[in-house]
């Protein structure tokens, strides 16, 4: 499509200066330079600054800041524990929700879609507070939990629950439109050929949606590893026990240990950059997935 447009451009009579859609060169350049400046100032400079600050103490101290401090090491490992559990839980939920919402029409479907999005509308701090109200020492389940010696708030389960809450919508939200666009034809064909439910899921649905699913997982994971507000409320802030990486950044910042704070921040920033790269790649794959499904549909329709 792009090629043919270029051909048209060449074929255009030379007397025509520019198309009416095109802005004058001065406007074009002013706007482009301003946009590049804004993105540079707001987005690029902060990223460079993180690595600059982290590495300004030298590579050896940088590595030491990350791995030499047992509390920081624990924070990295804790994030690597909390995030995968939360992502896995929301992955299963996301597939179930997307399957239900995209494949069936039922009363309350719109309401269910809105409910899935609800955590996005709740301030992370409020999310943390809600968990404290239920599982905290004086919470509704507090006495029962104390009796059975189960600790949730100020402990690992609380961190996981808070992370699960704030990242709940990601997978479902990305997957539902993809599954709707792909359509149910192939799955219905599989049913008519006698396939069972799980067989359809593993052999037909999953191969079709894998890139869209991965895209949701990548976004969910980025948020899970970076979550601050909700885990701040449920964490006991005991260094080396319940500080995740973002909480560790804050603690080091409060202690004016800037090189160490930036060292942890640089890991989180690298993660964000990897997420962006994966996102760009997966967006292209998802588009291909949808185009493939559309092609299959067209062939089926013309028969």
């Amino acid at each position: 499509m792009h090629k043919s447009l270029q051909l048209l451009d060449v074929a255009r009579p030379a007397t025509r200066r520019y198309s009416p859609r095109e802005d004058p060169a001065l406007v074009r350049w002013t706007l482009t330079l301003t946009a590049v400046f804004v993105v540079g100032l707001l987005i690029v400079v902060p990223v460079i600054y993180v690595f600059w600050q982290a590495l300004s103490v030298g590579l050896r101290s940088y590595a030491d800041n990350l791995w030499g401090n047992s509390d920081t090491r624990h924070a990295i490992l804790l994030t690597l524990t909390v995030a995968p559990i939360a992502v896995l839980a929301n992955l299963v939920f996301g597939v179930a929700a997307a399957w239900t919402i995209s494949r069936f029409r039922f009363r309350g479907r719109t309401l269910l879609t809105a409910l899935v999005d609800l955590p996005f509308a709740v301030s992370p701090v409020v999310a943390g507070l809600m968990l404290v109200l239920i599982f905290g020492m004086n919470g509704y389940l507090g006495p029962w939990l104390r009796e059975h010696d189960i600790k949730i708030i100020f402990a690992l389960p609380g961190l996981i629950l808070a992370t699960m809450f704030v990242t709940l919508p990601f997978v479902a939200r990305e997957l539902t439109p993809v599954m709707e666009a792909i359509g149910a034809e192939e799955e219905i064909a599989a049913v008519s050929l006698g396939a069972g439910g799980w067989q359809i899921f593993w052999r037909v649905t999953l191969p079709n949606i894998k890139w869209g699913l991965l895209y949701g997982v990548v976004l969910c994971n980025a948020r899970a590893m970076g979550e601050y507000g909700a885990v701040y409320v449920v964490s006991g802030h005991y260094a080396g026990r319940d500080d995740t990486m973002p909480l560790r950044v804050e603690k080091l910042f409060q202690q004016y240990d800037m090189p160490a704070a930036y060292a942890v921040a640089s890991v989180l920033t690298s993660l964000a950059l990897v997420t962006l790269a994966a996102k760009t790649l997966l967006e292209r794959k998802t588009r291909m997935e949808l185009a493939e499904a559309a092609a299959v549909r067209n062939v089926g329709g013309s028969r």
Partner: protein
């Protein structure tokens, strides 16, 4: 919620899918939400009012809303500029810039706060140029607006981009043929078409700003009556173990978010009708 099927769909897994979805949402979202509302309802009216309507709380709501509003407006202006440039013009590094727009989504807010708090101080990379002019973009109200612009920018760009891409060439060509200048074409033809998307982007970034905590606590300095936001009040009450008061303020914030959510839905429906 009724489980009656409206269509005769031969696919399996409806009951299991719906049951699990409802169970998960119930445990993780609905029960905690109910607990929050129940806790607030155990307060007497005067207790509730006393918690949510102090002078300090009022100034925190006003600042939270004001800063989010200002940031959303700025994000709209910058977002429109960036989306326009990305859709309409060709320049080196365009695809990299397009990917970088999503960074605020992916970057942990604590990192954003950490960086923004030190870039704009007096001897910071950018502060050294701005502070002599009296522009204090760290530990001030301006700092909060700035970091919220950063957080809100992708919402505006990503809502506008598809709409700008879908604009058909014919309408602009027709406007030009009818003798409209470029400026007239933009203001009278393009602007009305992209306005609904701009409004959606605006409300998304506003909603995000209202609930934002991580980045703001780093850059604001959290001074009561000046740069304190509402979520900080909740954290303060919690640290004093004043759960009732914290919950009361949380309910106010929740109400604010739900009003925003409904407004976004209405706006989206309105903009879809406009295109139909």
């Amino acid at each position: 919620m009724s489980a009656a099927r409206a269509t005769s769909n031969p696919l399996p897994g409806f009951r299991l899918g719906l049951a699990y979805t409802l169970f998960y949402l119930g445990v993780l979202v609905l029960i905690p939400l109910a607990a929050c509302l129940f806790k607030a309802s155990t307060l007497s009216a005067s207790q509730f009012w006393g918690a949510v309507w102090t002078a300090r709380a009022r100034s925190a709501y006003a600042f939270t809303f004001g800063a989010s509003l200002a940031a959303a407006i700025v994000a709209c202006i910058l977002g429109l500029l960036i989306a326009w440039v990305l859709v309409r013009y060709e320049f080196p590094g365009k695809r990299l810039m397009d990917s970088l727009i999503d960074l605020p989504f992916a970057l942990p807010t604590a990192v954003a706060g950490l960086v923004y708090s030190s870039l704009y101080v007096e001897n910071g990379w950018l502060g050294q140029f701005l502070v002599p002019w009296g522009i204090h973009a760290a530990y001030s109200r301006l700092a909060v607006v700035l970091v919220l612009v950063f957080i809100g920018l992708p919402f505006v760009v990503r809502t506008l981009q598809p709409v700008l891409e879908s604009l058909e060439a014919e309408i602009e060509e027709a406007a030009a043929l009818l003798g409209a200048t470029r400026r007239q074409t933009f203001l009278r033809v393009i602007a009305p078409l992209i306005f609904p998307a701009l409004v959606t982007g605006f409300s998304l970034s506003l909603a995000r700003g209202l609930g934002e905590y991580g980045s703001v606590v780093f850059v604001s300095g959290n001074m009561p009556f000046k740069t304190e936001i509402a979520p900080v009040l909740i954290v303060n009450r919690l640290e004093e173990f004043a759960y009732g008061e914290a919950t009361a303020i949380a309910v106010v914030l929740l109400a604010m978010s739900f009003v925003m959510l409904i407004a976004i839905n209405v706006l989206e429906r309105w903009s879809k009708r406009l295109y139909a």
